[in-house]
Structure formats: structure tokens, C-alpha cells
């Protein structure tokens, strides 16, 4: 029984962490709303209840630090709700800080560490804030002993119910053994039921196939094949459905990511003296778990960029005849098999000429290159590492990370970013992501005797050219496509694949690949077609640097490597 109890406790702690994180994430946006509607009782009550809930459960699990912080925050919220003290900027800051500290403590629990920071200072700060707020509110009579020393209050509770309060003892040493086991996913029961249903059907098909196999003999071949092909057709449908259902289990509303933005926009715009309102649409849009985990950073960079460089100061906006309040809109939606996230600001737009000059002066592109660039191409310069359009690094962007992170992270998710900008109207960053990253559209190509899969997201077009179309400029093969000269690399040379001896094709097949503003051509022996492939990781290989994204098994049972085009292009460009 003892083992069961501690295992059960592990589970409870895990569940607590997941839910506590959710509760805390939901508090931030409530506060931003509270600044607009300060007297909304329901809002105040929501925050109060969140803290109350946290305190209660943490008490059972023996997380005293959480109890201490949440208790005070709850106390403040209760007094504001009941009109005993007035909501002030100071109190909001204190509660937001307590949310941050609670998040840190929970993170420590999650990582199986003890939270070492001394919270007594902050607890004092909270007590002082309550006291100060009460003194401001002279009209009300309040029992101060009760507030300033929560311990006394606790004793009172104990007296009334005449019992000893003793939290469960095990929790702290019974925290889970491994960090990985902490990644939990909350899934709607209906989605799991769907998977159950479909696996049930697969069992039925298996039974049918086994039955068929046992009855097959030479005499009934004709009948056997008919039934066999009927059953495989059925299997095909059910597995596709099952794959979709499992994929959907991993899908979660993108709200998880969006919920931290209201506070971020509030804090950043305040610190810059800008007035910005944030509107969010489509937060119910469901995306893959991996997207939830990886899209936060790029979005933060884009939003920061919009606040910092996009939206003008109120005076400037009024001069231009715009409303003094700037607006950032985040919109998530599904478009076909893609998820699109738009971040739209109504700021001054990106100054393309300044961008070009900057890139030239930093030596990132040549003057000729910059002159040949169209506006659409030039705007993508913003994603080049080491480029910032503002000369003085501002408070926000001086953090050593730039917009290049956006493109890298998004392409890691097999997606891409578009920038649409218009002077004094604003800028839209559009992130397009595949619905799932486990299944991708790939181009199957042949090089020598080998077949490779190339993710289609980076391929702009495919061409068939004559050998004579290739030109050689100082040892580098180049190809002129509609007036643009692009470097050509031969995949068999890049990957060191021997070409068949008598290989003499009249034609060359060329893939035009784009990474950011760089384009290159890659030649292959032949194009086999397009296929939906499932990415499998290869164990025991350093996947980050080997130039291969993974492997897949094609319909005919062949194992095919998936080429990591992004990495390939980076290494080729360096040469």
C-alpha cells in the first residue's frame, strides 16, 4: 500500500503543477482587463478564487512557500473585492509579482529543485502594501491584527475547529524521479474515445486478415484476393482516420501561448511611454503541442519588434492623423492544411531603404545586390542575423537576440514567415505552419542509386534544364533564371553519392530552394514525385548537425533519408 500512496502522490503533484501553471497563466490577462474595468466584482472574484484554490491544494501537498504567497495575494484580492481597500497600481504590481514568484516556485517543484530565494522580504512587502492600502482607506474599520499577521488568523481557524493542522508529510521527498515524466498533456476524453474506437476497428481488421490467411488455399485464390483487397482498403481508411485522431490528441488551443501577451504588451508599452491596445482573435485555434512549445519565442520577438520599432509615440501618431492609441492585432486561423498566425500593427511600417542601407553598411549584402532587390525581397533582410534598424539598441531589442530567431524557429517547425509592410499603415508578420509537423509533404528525388526525400516547404519551383544552360563563373556553376543568377550545387557531389557510370542525361532536374532571402539551385538525377511522409528520428545520430532530418519508410518498404535542406544551404553558403 505504501508504494501506491507515494505513486499516487507523485501523480497528484504532477497534476497540481499542470493545473497551477494553467491557473497562473490565466491570471495575467485578468489583470490587464482589471486596469480597464477596476470595479468588476466578477473579475476580482476570479483572481481571488484562483489564489484561494492554489493555496488550498498547496497546503495539502506541503508547499509552504506557495501557501504563504498565495495567502497574502488572496487576502489582498478579498479586501479589494469587499471594498475594504482600493485597487491601486501598487497593489496590481504586487499581485503580478506574486504571480511571477509562484510561477518560479512551481517551476522549481517541476524540476525537482528547492526554491532557494528568500521570500520573506517579498512577504513583508506584501504585508506592508496591505497595511498601506488600509491606512489610505480611513473610512473603513478593519481588524488590523488579523491582516498583518496571517499566522494569528491561522491559529484562530484552528481554535474554531479544534483540530491540529498537519499537511501530508511525504510530498517534498516524494517528488517524481525524472524530469521527462513531468510533461503532461491534457486531452479531452472525446478525443481519446475516438482513438479507442478506431483501434477497436483495427483489431477487427486484424482478425479478419488472420481469418483470411488461415482459410486461404490454392482452390479459393480468386475469392481470397477479392476479400483481401477489400480488407486492405478498409485498413487504409481506418489507419488514416487513426492517424488523424492521434494527431488531434496532440492539438491544443493556441490560447496557451497567447495568454501571456496582454501583460507583455502592457508592460512594454508602459515602459516605452507608448499607448498600445492588443486585440487577439482565434485563440481557440488548435495547433500541435510542439507548435505550442516553440512558437512563443518567435511571437514574442515579433510583438516586441512591433512595439519597439513599429508603433509610433502618441504625439507622432497624432501628427500623422492617426489615433493616438496604437493597435496590435494577433489573429490565428486555419487555412487548408496550414495554421496561420498574423501579427498586425498599425505603426509606421518598415523603412525599406533604411533596411537596405543598414544591410549594406554592415556588410551583409553588397550595394549591387541591394539595388537589384525588389521591395518584397528587401523586407526579408529584417531576418538577417546581426541587423537592427534602430541605431541605438533600445531597451527591448538590446537583448542580443534579433528577428533572425523568428525565421529559424519557424522553419524548425517546417513553416515560413511573410512580411507585408506599408508606409504609415503598418506591418503584418504572417507565420504559416503545417497542421502537424510529424507528417510533411516531401519531394522524392533520385541521386545515383539513392532516393532522398526533400521537405517541400523550402522548394520554390522545380525546373528541367539542358546541361548547356549551366554556366561556370570562377569555378562555381550558376544558372540564370528569369534574369537572376543563382548558384547551382549538385546533390550527388554534396552528399558524396556515386553517380551511375553510364549516367548521361540530356536534362538536369533543378530544385530552386529559398531560405530567407538566399536562393540556390540543387540538381538531382530525377524527380520521382511528391509524397506525404512521416518523419521518424534516427537513434544514435546527432540529428542537429548530420544534415538529415530523419528517415521515412515509403510505400514500397524502402527506408529513405530526409535531407535537412536548411542546414545544407547554410553550409553551402559559407563556402
Amino acid at each position: 500500500m505504501g508504494g501506491d500512496v507515494s505513486e499516487e502522490l507523485d501523480e497528484i503533484i504532477k497534476e497540481f503543477i499542470t493545473e497551477a501553471e494553467e491557473i497562473l497563466e490565466n491570471i495575467d490577462p485578468l489583470f490587464v482587463e482589471l486596469e480597464v474595468r477596476a470595479d468588476d466584482k466578477e473579475l476580482l472574484n476570479n483572481i481571488f478564487r484562483s489564489m484561494h484554490t492554489l493555496k488550498g491544494a498547496a497546503g495539502f501537498l506541503g508547499f509552504q512557500q506557495i501557501v504563504d504567497v498565495a495567502h497574502r495575494a488572496e487576502n489582498i484580492m478579498k479586501k479589494i473585492r469587499d471594498g475594504e481597500i482600493k485597487l491601486s497600481r501598487l497593489l496590481i504590481d504586487i499581485i503580478l509579482k506574486s504571480v511571477d514568484i509562484l510561477k518560479e516556485i512551481i517551476n522549481c517543484i517541476k524540476e525537482n529543485k528547492t526554491y532557494d530565494n528568500d521570500i520573506t522580504l517579498f512577504l513583508n512587502e506584501m504585508d506592508m502594501a496591505i497595511k498601506g492600502a488600509e491606512e489610505d482607506n480611513v473610512t473603513k474599520q478593519i481588524d488590523k491584527d488579523d491582516l498583518n499577521e496571517p499566522k494569528k488568523e491561522k491559529e484562530k481557524e484552528e481554535n474554531i475547529v479544534s483540530q491540529k493542522l498537519q499537511p501530508i508529510k511525504q510530498p517534498l521527498d516524494a517528488t517524481p524521479k525524472e524530469k521527462e515524466t513531468m510533461t503532461n498533456l491534457r486531452v479531452e476524453v472525446s478525443k481519446i474515445d475516438k482513438v479507442m474506437d478506431l483501434s477497436g476497428e483495427i483489431v477487427l481488421i486484424r482478425n479478419r486478415l488472420m481469418n483470411l490467411a488461415s482459410k486461404a488455399n490454392k482452390e479459393n485464390m480468386q475469392e481470397f484476393f477479392e476479400q483481401f483487397s477489400e480488407t486492405t482498403g478498409f485498413l487504409d481508411r481506418v489507419t488514416s482516420d487513426l492517424q488523424l485522431a492521434v494527431m488531434k490528441m496532440r492539438m491544443q488551443p493556441i490560447q496557451k501561448v497567447f495568454s501571456k501577451f496582454p501583460r507583455m504588451v502592457r508592460d512594454l508599452s508602459h515602459s516605452l511611454g507608448k499607448d498600445i491596445v492588443l486585440e487577439i482573435f482565434g485563440e481557440d485555434t488548435e495547433v500541435d503541442k510542439s507548435v505550442i512549445e516553440n512558437i512563443g519565442d518567435p511571437l514574442v520577438h515579433i510583438i516586441r519588434n512591433s512595439i519597439d520599432h513599429g508603433i509610433e509615440y502618441p504625439e507622432e501618431r497624432i501628427k500623422k492623423g492617426k489615433p493616438s492609441k496604437g493597435k496590435i492585432t494577433i489573429n490565428a486561423y486555419q487555412k487548408g492544411t496550414q495554421i496561420v498566425i498574423d501579427v498586425i500593427d498599425d505603426g509606421k511600417g518598415i523603412d525599406i531603404d533604411a533596411l537596405k542601407n543598414k544591410a549594406v553598411s554592415k556588410g551583409l549584402i553588397s550595394l549591387e545586390e541591394s539595388q537589384a532587390m525588389s521591395n518584397e525581397e528587401a523586407v526579408n533582410l529584417i531576418f538577417l542575423p546581426g541587423l537592427s534598424t534602430k541605431d541605438a539598441a533600445s531597451e527591448l531589442s538590446g537583448r542580443g537576440v534579433g528577428m533572425d530567431v523568428v525565421r529559424t524557429n519557424v522553419s524548425n517547425l517546417n513553416g515560413y514567415v511573410d512580411v507585408i509592410t506599408s508606409k504609415d499603415v503598418g506591418t503584418t508578420f504572417r507565420i504559416s505552419l503545417p497542421l502537424t509537423i510529424a507528417i510533411i509533404q516531401a519531394l522524392m528525388v533520385k541521386v545515383g542509386n539513392e532516393v532522398y526525400a526533400i521537405p517541400q516547404t523550402m522548394i520554390e519551383e522545380t525546373l528541367r534544364i539542358n546541361f548547356s544552360d549551366l554556366k561556370n563563373v570562377t569555378g562555381q556553376d550558376v544558372l540564370n533564371i528569369r534574369g537572376k543568377v543563382l548558384p547551382v550545387y549538385h546533390l550527388h557531389k554534396v552528399l558524396n553519392v556515386p553517380q551511375e557510370k553510364d549516367f548521361k542525361n540530356q536534362y538536369l532536374y533543378v530544385l530552386v530552394a529559398a531560405l530567407g532571402d538566399k536562393k540556390i539551385c540543387i540538381t538531382v538525377d530525377s524527380l520521382l514525385g511528391q509524397e506525404e511522409i512521416v518523419i521518424k528520428t534516427i537513434n544514435g545520430v546527432d540529428m542537429e548537425h548530420c544534415g538529415v532530418l530523419g528517415a521515412t519508410i515509403t510505400g514500397d518498404g524502402r527506408v529513405v533519408l530526409i535531407v535537412d535542406l536548411a542546414l545544407l544551404m547554410k553550409t553551402l553558403n559559407k563556402k
Partner: protein
């Protein structure tokens, strides 16, 4: 001394808390436990299933608070009217507890509590009401 087969309804809006309370009841030997997320859901469950013999409810919940649930139960028809009701509360302020007693709560318990304390409370309820006994 308890009838460990009785059906118990645990009411709390926080899943972790429901699990903790369920776990404590399990430790005492109770096996037949159901959950509800708030007072409204609990009331609906109780109305549609007369087998419940005990309610263990939190006070603070959205939609319908524990105290409202208690009041609604006490205003309903028998046998639900006199179902044993244990209130879980973190704020044992006098007026609140008095309100609960006036509304007919059988006992109350302050968070956090241990299995032993829970057992004591249930024993006290069992003395008053025969329903929990074998």
C-alpha cells in the same frame, strides 16, 4: 464502523483538490466516490442519483458555491434533504461557519487536513446520522 460501500460525492472546482480528497477517502477505505466540479453540477448529480449517501464539498466554487449547494439540498425533498454534508473550508471565519451551521451543515473541516482528521469528522457525522453506518 463505517459502511465503506456508500456512494460519496466530492465537490471541488480544482481537479487536484478533488483528487486529494478522493485519495484521503480511499485511504480510509471508501471506494465508491464520484466527483462534481461545482455546486450546480453536484446538485444535478444528487437529484438524478438517490444512491449518494454523503457530500464532501468545498466552499469556494464558481457557478454555485458550497453554501448555496447546502441550502438547496436542505430545501429539497427527502431523502436528499437530510444527506450528510461535510463542508471543506479554508476560511473558518466565525460568521461563515455560523452561516454553514445555520444552513444545516453536518460538520466542517479546514484545509489542509489529514486522513485521521477526516476520519474523526466522519465519525462525528456518523454518530448523528445513521446513514454512514453498516
Amino acid at each position: 464502523m463505517f459502511n465503506y460501500n456508500i456512494k460519496i460525492l466530492v465537490v471541488d472546482d480544482f481537479p487536484t483538490m478533488r483528487r486529494i480528497v478522493k485519495n484521503l477517502l480511499n485511504q480510509l477505505g471508501f471506494k465508491n466516490i464520484e466527483e462534481a466540479e461545482d455546486g450546480q453540477q453536484a446538485y444535478n448529480k444528487l437529484m438524478s442519483d438517490p444512491d449518494f449517501k454523503l457530500v464532501v464539498s468545498d466552499w469556494n466554487m464558481p457557478n454555485m458555491e458550497g453554501i448555496e449547494l447546502l441550502k438547496k439540498i436542505r430545501q429539497s425533498e427527502e431523502p436528499l434533504k437530510s444527506i450528510p454534508f461535510l463542508m471543506i473550508t479554508a476560511e473558518a471565519e466565525k460568521e461563515k461557519v455560523i452561516e454553514a451551521i445555520k444552513s444545516g451543515v453536518d460538520n466542517y473541516i479546514v484545509k489542509p487536513f489529514t486522513a485521521e482528521v477526516l476520519k474523526e469528522k466522519l465519525e462525528k457525522i456518523a454518530e448523528k446520522k445513521q446513514l454512514l453506518k453498516n
